[in-house]
Amino acid sequence: MTDGTHAGDGWFAGLDPSDREAAIERLSAGESEDPADWPAMAIETGYATDEDDYYDRLHDLTLSAARREVRERERADDRQLVHAVRAMDDARRTANELAERVAEWAGSRFDDAGSGVEYARELAAEGPPEPDRSGSDDGISDPGTDRLVALATRTAELADEADELERFVETAAHDVAPNLAAMAGPVLAARLISLAGGLGDLAKQPSSTVQVLGAEDALFAHLSGNAPSPKHGVIYTHEYVRGTRQADRGSAARAVAGKLTIAARVDHYSGERRPELDAELDERVRTIRARGDDQ
């Protein structure tokens, strides 16, 4: 370990002692084949004034570097959130489709057949009404009815799973993107992250893109000259957009998209919860809605 014959440089090699960012980056990403007497070398090359100075710097910088890396790694959970919200949507859509099938089939057999997932739940829980119109004379058990009730049971279970997934999305969204989840609601937050491809991707979008995420068909129709520009994509489900009168809805969508974009950036780059962001959006929407009230 003498006289610099080592395979690799220390983390501080060539760095300006005042450049914290570069040092943190080097601590995280640097490599060396072998260790060396780094403290002595840092002092020799003037990076640190003495051993205490070296260790003080190293302590401060390793804490910052590790903290940042932990945050980056935990942020990788946005992938889990994306999978979960897509699974939730798939489960719900499929449950609805199956419920339609159940209703259609049941309508051909029972007089009082209802519709939707609620009816599938009812049929699954209570079984077919008596007497079974289709029932043959020799008993109540009918293979067609058995299959129909079994399908209704699967449908109800799939709808339950969609609810479970939604509960999971709600918790995960608050972990992954606390500000976005607080402002948009966890499910909309998860949808936005999913549509953008990840929290990092969402944080890099301009707010005008966030405003129309989920309205790609309408946007491309507009771009090819056949339609007006869409005012909103999935953020339509936000009560500040949906609950604002038609004339001001574009302004509300713009305001919501702007603040959600900021929330996503804070979540991605800092991870700290900043409640004042929600208050700013509340205030902005109040102003927009007040416009109409004066008239």
């Binding site: 690799g8 060396s32 084949e33 072998d34 260790y55 302590h59 390793t62 590790a66 890396e69 932990v70």
Partner: protein
């Protein structure tokens, strides 16, 4: 056996326990500046409690592999000199950061102990390598990290039998791991860490020159 400087036996709630001086970390009993070191939660604590000849004197430079949330490494940093704490998992590292913050010679490194190149640009040659990694290939980890040990340094290793192979007799696992270790180390002492830790073997070794 003598304890390293900075580690003492002190009385906590009527029983004699190992203790170091520093900020409490995991709700351990304290007595003024002193805080009890629970050998049931720390392999190294168990080794000291069992009077193994660790060679620790206090003030040495330490590389700690598998620092987890920092329970043991906090005690090490209390009595040792500069202490480099390597942990691969993000979750425990969060707790380790809180442990490291008030200890100005404890350096947390989020890295994989199986890839020393990831931290050799930060870690200097050390007097002691403490290893407590619960992965397969514990001998390989110790061997590849031998590059950090000074010639007269010590490896203090806790081998977890279940991490290598849950189905085999722990004694067989230990003997295989020790055989693998002998490529890079001379084994000085071994001892089962019961009653503090089941199916763990404490090892003191020094690098082959």
């Amino acid at each position: 056996m003598t304890l390293p400087d900075g580690v003492e036996r002190r009385s906590f709630e009527g029983s004699d326990r190992l203790a170091t001086q520093g900020e409490p970390v995991y709700g351990e009993p304290t007595d003024g500046e002193w805080r009890a070191w629970n050998p049931h939660r720390s392999k190294l604590g168990g080794m000291l409690e069992l009077d193994m000849d660790t060679g620790l004197v206090g003030g040495e430079t330490v590389l700690y592999l598998g620092a987890a949330s920092g329970t043991t490494v906090s005690h090490v940093a209390d009595f040792a000199g500069p202490t480099y704490a390597v942990e691969f998992a993000a979750r425990p590292m969060r707790d380790l950061l809180n442990t490291a913050e008030p200890r100005d010679r404890l350096f947390p490194l989020l890295a994989d102990a199986r890839s020393p190149e990831e931290y050799a640009h930060v870690v200097e040659p050390v007097d002691v390598v403490v290893q407590d990694v619960a992965t397969r290939g514990q001998a390989a980890v110790a061997t590849t990290n031998a590059r950090f040990l000074r010639d007269d340094g010590r490896l203090l290793l806790a081998i977890k039998a279940r991490s290598e192979d849950v189905t085999r007799d722990p004694e067989d696992v230990f003997s295989d791991v020790l055989d693998d270790l002998r490529g890079a180390y001379e084994i000085l002492e071994t001892e089962r860490l019961a009653p503090y830790h089941d199916d763990h073997l404490g090892v003191v070794a020094r690098p082959r020159s």
